[in-house]
C-alpha cells in the first residue's frame, strides 16, 4: 500500500519511459515519487518484446526487451520510489489531482507537485485503416498478437498476411515463422519499408518472406475466420490499381500499420501537447516516451524520459 496522499511526483505508466523519468527525478533529489502501472508488473511493452536489439546505445549491449526493462526495474527497487501495479490512472487534472483505481489499491484521489505522463501508445486497428470486406475473426494487431504469443503462449493463426511493415509487424513475421506458421507476405502501401532496415533484413529476407511495397489489402473475405485476402498494387496517390489484384488464402491478417500516442487522459483534462515538447500546456505536467512521440528505439525513450524526470524535479525545486 502507498505511503502518502501527496507526492512530489506521480508518474503515470511504468514502462521504460515511466521508470527512467522516476529514476532521474530521484537522482535529482525528489524523495516522494509514485509510479502507477495498469499492468501486473513494470516494464510496459518491453515485457512482450522477447527479441534482442534493445540497449545497444544506452547500455552498449544487445539485450532483449525484458532484460532491458528489468535493469530499470531493479534500479527502481533500489530506491524508495513507490510503485502501484494493477492500478489504472482514471484522470489527471490541471491542478495535478490524480484519480486512480485498482483491485487492491481501491479508489484513490492523490495530489502531486508534478506529474509525468508515460502512458505509451496504441496500435491502429482495422477500422482506422478502412479496409473493406467481411468482419471475421483472425484480424489482429501485431502488438496484440505479440502479447498472445510471447506472454500468453498462444498462436493467433497458422497462415498470415501482414499489413504494414512497421517494426512490430516485421518482428512478428519472424516470430510466427519460428513458431511454425506460414507468413505469406508483408504488404506495405508506401514504396519503402516502415520499420528499421535491420528488421527488414533479419526478419523478412533471412526467412524469404516477400515484402510487397506499394501494395495494399483491398478486401478481406471469410465468414467465421479469415479465408482470403486480396492484395492490390497502388499508384502514387495510394489508390489501388484495378487489375493488379492477387489473392492469398490465409486465416489471419496481422496489422502493423502505425502506432498512435496514447494521450487520452491529457485530452480529457484539456491539457495540450506541443509537438515533441516534454512540457505540456499545464505547468508541472510533463509527457515523454511513446506517449509524446512514437520511438523506434527504446534507448531514445529512456533519454527523453530522463529529461522529463529532471524537468519535473526542477519544477518541484522551484516551488
Amino acid at each position: 500500500m502507498i505511503q502518502h496522499t501527496h507526492y512530489q511526483l506521480i508518474v503515470v505508466g511504468g514502462g521504460p519511459a515511466g521508470m527512467a523519468a522516476a529514476l532521474a527525478a530521484w537522482d535529482e533529489g525528489l524523495t516522494r515519487i509514485l509510479v502507477v502501472e495498469r499492468d501486473f508488473m513494470l516494464g510496459g511493452i518491453l515485457n512482450q518484446c522477447i527479441h534482442t536489439g534493445f540497449g545497444i546505445e544506452y547500455f552498449e549491449e544487445v539485450l532483449t526487451g525484458p532484460e532491458y526493462a528489468w535493469r530499470f526495474v531493479s534500479m527502481v527497487h533500489d530506491t524508495d520510489i513507490e510503485v502501484l501495479t494493477d492500478t489504472m490512472v482514471l484522470s489527471v487534472s490541471e491542478d495535478k489531482t490524480v484519480h486512480l483505481a485498482g483491485k487492491k489499491a481501491g479508489f484513490l484521489v492523490l495530489t502531486a507537485d508534478s506529474v509525468v505522463m508515460a502512458t505509451g501508445c496504441r496500435e491502429r486497428a482495422r477500422g482506422a485503416l478502412g479496409i473493406a470486406g467481411t468482419r471475421p475473426a483472425g484480424v489482429i494487431t501485431a502488438g496484440t498478437a505479440q502479447r498472445y504469443v510471447n506472454i500468453e503462449g498462444y498462436m493467433p493463426g497458422t497462415r498470415f498476411v501482414i499489413i504494414g511493415s512497421g517494426d512490430v509487424g516485421l518482428i512478428m513475421a519472424r516470430r510466427m515463422t519460428l513458431e511454425g506458421a506460414k507468413v505469406l507476405c508483408v504488404v506495405e502501401i508506401l514504396p519503402r519499408p516502415g520499420g528499421l532496415l535491420r528488421n527488414v533484413v533479419q526478419c523478412l529476407y533471412d526467412f524469404e518472406i516477400p515484402l510487397l511495397l506499394s501494395h495494399t489489402v483491398t478486401d478481406i473475405r471469410g465468414r467465421e475466420r479469415v479465408e482470403e485476402v486480396i492484395v492490390s498494387q497502388v499508384d502514387g496517390n495510394r489508390n489501388a490499381i484495378p487489375g493488379t489484384e492477387q489473392s492469398f488464402s490465409c486465416d489471419t491478417v496481422l496489422l502493423s500499420a502505425g502506432l498512435i500516442p496514447e494521450n487520452e487522459l491529457l485530452n480529457a483534462a484539456g491539457i495540450g501537447i506541443e509537438s515533441s515538447k516534454i512540457q505540456t500546456s499545464a505547468p508541472g505536467i510533463f509527457v515523454c516516451g511513446n506517449a509524446l512521440q512514437v520511438h523506434d528505439i527504446v534507448d531514445n525513450v529512456t533519454l527523453e524520459a530522463q529529461r522529463a524526470g529532471i524537468e519535473a524535479a526542477n519544477f518541484v525545486g522551484c516551488l
Binding site: A101, F107, R135, G143, T144, E224
Partner: protein, 486 residues
C-alpha cells in the same frame, strides 16, 4: 408443449417475448445464433424515428408513432442507454424545401408530436457544423437514439426473469402443423411443440413463412454500410441529421451515438445474400462523400470501425404483420423503422394471439425493472464506495471505455451470459473504444476461458466458429498448466 414459440431473438422477437412475459403463458424463443441481436438488430442506425417518414395509414406509420413514448419508458425502466436528442431532415437546396414541407404535413397526419420547420439560421444555430448550403430543415424533437444491443438484451433478459425460455444455437429447420398447433424441428434433430408460432426471423422470415404457408413474399436484403468515428468526433453534431429522403430510402445520416461516438451511414445497395454484411470500398466512399454534404468538416481520420447491416426489404412497402395460417403469425419484412416500432409490433402480436383464442392472463408478479453497474458513469465518491464493497470493480480491463472486471463478471452472471469476446463488448462496452479491443481483448478472452472452464483456443470472437486463437505455442504446448497472469 409451449403456448407460444417465437422464432428469432432480434429486437422484434425480444420485444414480443417481453410483452408476452407479462402473462401466464409458457413461451420459448428459438434463436440460431449464440446471442441476441446478431441479425439486422446488430447493425443499424440505432435511431428511434419520430414517425414523419412512413406514408400515412401504413402499419409503419402507426406502429412507429405509437412506439416512441413506449420506447422511452422502456429504456428508462430497463436501464437501456438512450437519448432523446431529436432529428432534423435537412433541405440542402431550395428545391428540397418542398420535401421538408411535405414531411412536415406527413408528420401532422401521422400524429407526430412537436415537429416544426426551422429556417437556415435556426438550423445553424442548433447545429453549427451543418453545411452552409442548408436552406431549411424539419425538426422532430421526439426522435431518439438508443443502444440497440442493450435494448434487445434488456428486453430478452427481462422476459427470462419473468419465465420465458430462450434457446440459443437452435435453428428452426422444419415446421409441420399438428392438431393442436405446430411441431418445429430444430437443428434438424429435436422437436419443439407449440400452440402459437411467431415468425420474427428477420431476413429469414420468408423462409420460415414458406415452411407453413403459401409463399407470397420474398426478402431481398438491402445493404447499408457505416463508418463509426471516435469520440473525438462525437460532438460534431448534437441531433440525428438526415438528408431529404429519396426513392432509395432515408439516405445517409450523421448522428451521435448514445456512447458519444459519431455514426455516419447507411448506404443502400443490394446484398449478395442475406448473410452478406461485407463492406465495400466504393460504397464506403459514397457514404463518406454524401455525409460531407450535410456536415463538411467531419474528420474521417478518426474512424474506428466500418460495418454494414441488411434490411429485410420485400416487394411490399409496409411491414407484413398478420396471421398467415391458423395460429401462425408473421412479423415479417420488418425493415426500418423496425427498431423504432418493436414495442408496438409486440403489443399487436399479443392482441393477435389473444384473437387466436389464447387467454392472456396477467401475472401477479411481473418484474419490470433492470439495473446494471456502469463504472465510468459514477461519481468519484460512488466509485470509491463500489470498489470498497467489491474490489473487482477496481480492476479496469478496457482502458478506452474504462470497463472493470466487476462489470464483466456481472454480465457473466446475468440471465443471458456472454459466450464470446464480442458478446462481452456488447454488454459492457469493453473493446468498443478507439483501440477496438487491442489491449483488453486478451484479458477478456482469458476471463471467458476461466469462467467457462475451457481452453483459450476454444473462446470465440463472436458467433459459432469465430475462434480467436488457433493453438498453443510450441513451448507452451509442452507445459501442462495454463498460465494465469492474475
Amino acid at each position: 408443449m409451449f403456448d407460444v414459440a417465437i422464432i428469432g431473438a432480434g429486437i422484434v422477437g425480444a420485444a414480443t417475448a417481453y410483452e408476452l412475459s407479462r402473462y401466464n403463458l409458457n413461451v420459448v424463443v428459438l434463436e440460431r445464433e449464440n446471442d441476441v441481436a446478431l441479425g439486422a438488430t446488430k447493425a443499424n442506425s440505432a435511431v428511434i424515428h419520430a414517425g414523419y417518414d412512413p406514408s400515412p395509414g401504413t402499419l409503419m406509420a402507426k406502429l412507429d408513432v405509437k412506439s416512441v413514448a413506449i420506447t422511452k419508458e422502456l429504456c428508462a425502466k430497463l436501464d437501456v442507454p438512450h437519448k432523446q436528442c431529436g432529428a432534423m431532415v435537412l433541405a440542402l437546396s431550395d428545391e428540397e424545401v418542398e420535401i421538408v414541407e411535405f414531411l412536415y404535413n406527413q408528420a401532422l397526419e401521422n400524429g407526430v408530436k412537436d415537429t416544426h420547420i426551422l429556417s437556415k439560421e435556426e438550423v445553424l444555430h442548433l447545429e453549427p457544423n451543418v453545411s452552409r448550403d442548408v436552406a431549411a430543415a424539419l425538426h422532430a424533437p421526439t426522435a431518439m437514439i438508443v443502444d440497440p444491443w442493450e435494448y434487445t438484451l434488456a428486453l430478452a433478459e427481462t422476459a427470462m426473469r419473468n419465465g420465458v425460455e430462450i434457446r440459443f444455437e437452435t435453428e428452426v429447420t422444419g415446421i409441420t402443423s399438428t392438431e393442436r398447433g405446430y411441431k418445429i424441428t430444430v437443428n434438424a434433430a429435436e422437436t419443439v411443440e407449440t400452440r402459437i408460432l411467431i415468425n420474427a426471423a428477420g431476413l429469414y422470415a420468408d423462409d420460415i413463412h414458406n415452411m407453413v404457408a403459401k409463399p407470397d413474399f420474398t426478402i431481398s436484403p438491402a445493404k447499408g454500410e457505416y463508418w463509426l468515428l471516435d469520440k473525438s468526433e462525437g460532438a460534431r453534431v448534437s441531433c440525428v441529421l438526415f438528408q431529404c429522403p429519396s426513392k432509395a430510402g432515408k439516405g445517409v445520416l450523421v448522428t451521435p451515438t448514445v456512447h458519444g461516438n459519431l455514426l455516419v451511414g447507411p448506404g443502400n445497395i443490394p446484398a449478395m445474400d442475406k448473410d452478406d454484411v461485407s463492406t465495400t470500398a466504393d460504397e464506403l466512399k459514397y457514404v463518406r462523400d454524401t455525409a460531407k454534404k450535410s456536415v463538411p468538416e467531419i474528420d474521417f481520420s478518426a474512424v474506428i470501425r466500418s460495418f454494414s447491416g441488411n434490411r429485410a426489404q420485400t416487394e411490399h412497402s409496409d411491414f407484413i404483420i398478420r396471421e398467415a395460417a391458423p395460429g401462425f403469425i408473421d412479423l415479417a419484412g420488418i425493415k426500418s423503422p423496425g427498431l423504432s416500432s418493436a414495442p408496438a409490433i409486440a403489443k399487436m402480436a399479443a392482441t393477435m394471439i389473444s384473437d387466436c383464442g389464447v387467454e392472456l392472463q396477467e401475472k401477479e408478479s411481473f418484474i419490470d425493472s433492470r439495473r446494471r453497474i456502469r463504472f465510468n458513469t459514477l461519481s468519484p465518491e460512488q466509485k470509491a464506495a463500489l470498489i470498497e464493497s467489491d474490489p473487482l470493480y477496481g480492476r479496469v480491463i478496457c482502458r478506452c471505455e474504462t470497463v472493470t472486471e466487476g462489470e464483466i463478471r456481472d454480465a457473466l452472471l446475468s440471465p443471458i451470459p456472454p459466450r464470446s469476446v464480442d458478446a462481452v463488448k456488447r454488454r459492457t462496452n469493453a473493446g468498443m473504444g478507439r483501440c477496438q479491443g487491442g489491449f483488453c481483448g486478451p484479458r477478456v478472452l482469458e476471463i471467458l476461458a476461466k469462467h467457462y472452464g475451457i481452453d483459450r483456443v476454444d473462446v470465440l470472437q463472436d458467433r459459432a466458429g469465430t475462434f480467436v486463437l488457433t493453438s498453443k505455442t510450441k513451448e507452451f504446448a509442452t507445459t501442462t498448466t495454463d498460465k494465469v497472469s492474475f
